[in-house]
């Protein structure tokens, strides 16, 4: 995801377009809390998987075209990805007796990948010396991939009164959803066609990931992004 690094044309910048390349950190409230059941030992075994994606690295590329005066339009392709550890918990039924679940728990790695396209209106808010401040907002389309748990593996031994988490079977669930974004970009024009920019952007959508028909989870994609990068005008 990305707030487009618009180059709302400053007088001493050449060109009608501005291209930017940025990267940074995304902070969000996004926590995946998966809950489903599998059959173990002739009973339903509840399984939970919780992973915190509150911080994700991102980078993007954008292009902004000046239309008239302070207004322009921009398109950004943003990629955010991060591996986080998530906690798997389950209650494994006893092999000999009904209603004698044995709790297990463990940690597995989960990857969140978000590819977003932001289509924005851009407005150059102010220009002072080498600095250029613009704001933007528009629609976002997210294609997100999430690691979901589909089953758990455990070890146990006679008398089977306890069980130990071994691993979890996972799948990568992909979903596409629509949302919005707003942002601001501050560019310092170091040379005539090249500058450095810092941006802040908030992008958001709600996404439903599905591992199977009865194993779905809804979470947030996007978040508050902060970062910086290069700005090119032509």
């Amino acid at each position: 995801m990305l707030v487009p690094s618009h180059a709302a044309a400053q007088d001493n910048w050449d060109g009608r377009f501005r291209i930017s390349a940025s990267g940074g950190d995304q902070i969000s409230r996004d926590t995946i809390a998966q809950a489903f059941t599998v059959q173990k030992n002739l009973e339903a075994a509840p399984v939970t998987f919780d992973v915190d994606h509150k911080q994700i690295y991102w980078f993007d590329g954008s292009i902004v075209a000046r239309l008239r005066g302070r207004w322009g339009v921009g398109a950004t392709v943003s990629v955010a990805t991060r591996d986080n550890d998530g906690h798997v918990g389950a209650s494994i039924p006893h092999p000999f007796f009904f209603n004698q679940p044995r709790p297990i728990g463990g940690t597995i790695g989960a990857r969140r990948t978000e590819v977003a396209v932001h289509l924005d209106a851009v407005y150059r808010l102010a220009a002072r010396g080498r600095l250029d401040l613009s704001v933007s907002g528009g629609a976002s389309i997210f294609n997100a991939r999430e690691t979901l748990v589909t089953d758990v593996a455990y070890t146990d031994a006679y008398p089977f009164d306890t069980a130990t988490f071994a691993s979890a079977a996972t799948t990568r669930s992909t979903t596409t959803s629509g949302g919005f974004n707003v942002g601001a970009d501050l560019t310092w024009k170091r040379w005539r066609r090249v500058g450095l920019g810092a941006l802040v952007r908030f992008a958001h959508a709600s996404a439903t990931f599905s591992a199977s028909a009865n194993n779905t989870v809804t979470g947030d994609v996007g978040g508050l992004q902060a970062g910086g990068g290069l700005r090119f005008a032509f």
Binding site: L42, F96, F97, Y158
Partner: protein, 547 residues
Amino acid sequence: MRTPKLGLLVVCVAAVLAAHAAPRVRAQSRPLAITATSNADLRTWDSAVDRLKRDGALRARATSEDLLLPGRVHERLDQYVGGVRVFGGDLVRQTENGLTVSIFGTMYPDVAVDGAAAMPPEDARAIVEGLSGAELGDTRRPELLILPDEAGGARLVYRLKAFTLENAIDYFIDASTGAVVLELGAAERQSVSSLGVGRGVLGDDKKVSVASLGGNFVAVDLLRPPSIRTYDMRANLSRTIDFLNGVVGLTASDFALSATTTWSDPVAVDAQAYVGQVYDFYFKRFGRRGLDNKNLALINIIHPVRRDDVYTASDDIIGNFYLNAFYAGNGVMVYGEGLPAGLTLGGQRWNYFAGGLDIIGHELTHGVTEFSSGLIYRNQSGALNEAFSDIMGTATEFFDQPIGDGPMKAEYLMGEDVVTPGGIRSLANPGQFGNPDHFSKFVTAPADAAHDYGAVHTNMTIATHAYYLAIEGGADRTSGLSVQGVGTANRDQIEKVFYRGFTQLLPSNATFSVARAATIQAARDLYGAGSAPERAVTQAWTAVGVQ
């Protein structure tokens, strides 16, 4: 005062036993009960035992590590004369780091027999086959023994077990004359004192550990350490008898099976599940691995007869295969079929015997006894054998089921889930079934099949009531003496005391008095002198009149 006399006695015993280099006849073979727990007694007996071992008069049968007290070792020794084992002559020595803690046993200082057996073992087998009408397989080899009798005599005998449609008998054949000297019940079973009919399946859902085989599922437990298998005899009683006698083996086609994982035969379900639960109880409570502590395979035999055939069956077959369950030795349990719905006996309904957890606990405990104390199935030792089975059967219920009244609840009744209403015995109130709660009411009867081998199923309740009082407390109805029990929350203490006493300290020919001493010693071993369990056990035995 006691030590010099004892020392003299022990020296004499050792001298007599060691002098038996060759068998010869002695007229008298009075048993000598040994209960050595004091330092003075232990010193005397310990050296005597060592000497007897060196001389071959005592031979080690088994040595086992203590499962409850690390560092303790139990050495079980059999008495031999001229290389022949003396039936009922054995002792158990408990040591800790090489120091002897206790010795319990029964010895026959004067026993001797003359010469070797005049009859080859094959003749003894033929005699037993003739007596029982059963064909015996080659694996059924007669054991040569010296059998002391109650009159003080002794003789060389062959011992061989045979199963028939009517009974299961341990035959003792005179090795010279071929006469039957003694018959003991080889099937240690639930007592059958009245008849009734069951209600069918108890209706509880339970899991059963099974295995897939040839597209079906068979009752073979692959999850527990021992092999637990349930065989459906499909009412083929003669094949059942042949199997019990070692004539035929059972194959995969005999397994109880189901085409799907949903089993429709409640007898197979209960037999398979409950045997597993009893194994679990012994493992979790005492650390014991099955009957022999070596994960001996557990074999369930179900449906030896058809329920509807009861109307044409003989009384013996009804008594053994409809209204009973029995342990047949070497890990084999046979469960009775019960009676058809609507048929009652003695006002009670009799369901499938595999449906009672305490019954299965009782039967499997006979196997534990077989591989530990070997309590001889007659008179006081036989009553203790049965008592231990009821004690552990009840303990299994309390381990697995919620406390209360009604089906599948833990209480102090035996067989109450199968024989309804009421069950067949009570540990809390033996008199409810006409059984004794005090040693003054001990029933003396001949040790033969017609008299329940000395009323073992009757006298057993003296010991089981002591167990009950040690846990729950209260007063014995006959003596009026009160017991301060350890309380139901601490029942595991008394369970461990009795388990230890009966499996590791008792000799095979134990009396009630020896059982008292052994369980008190076990309480001291586990919880210390003056502990609440020791007090409770001591008071309980006193309350039931056993000194």
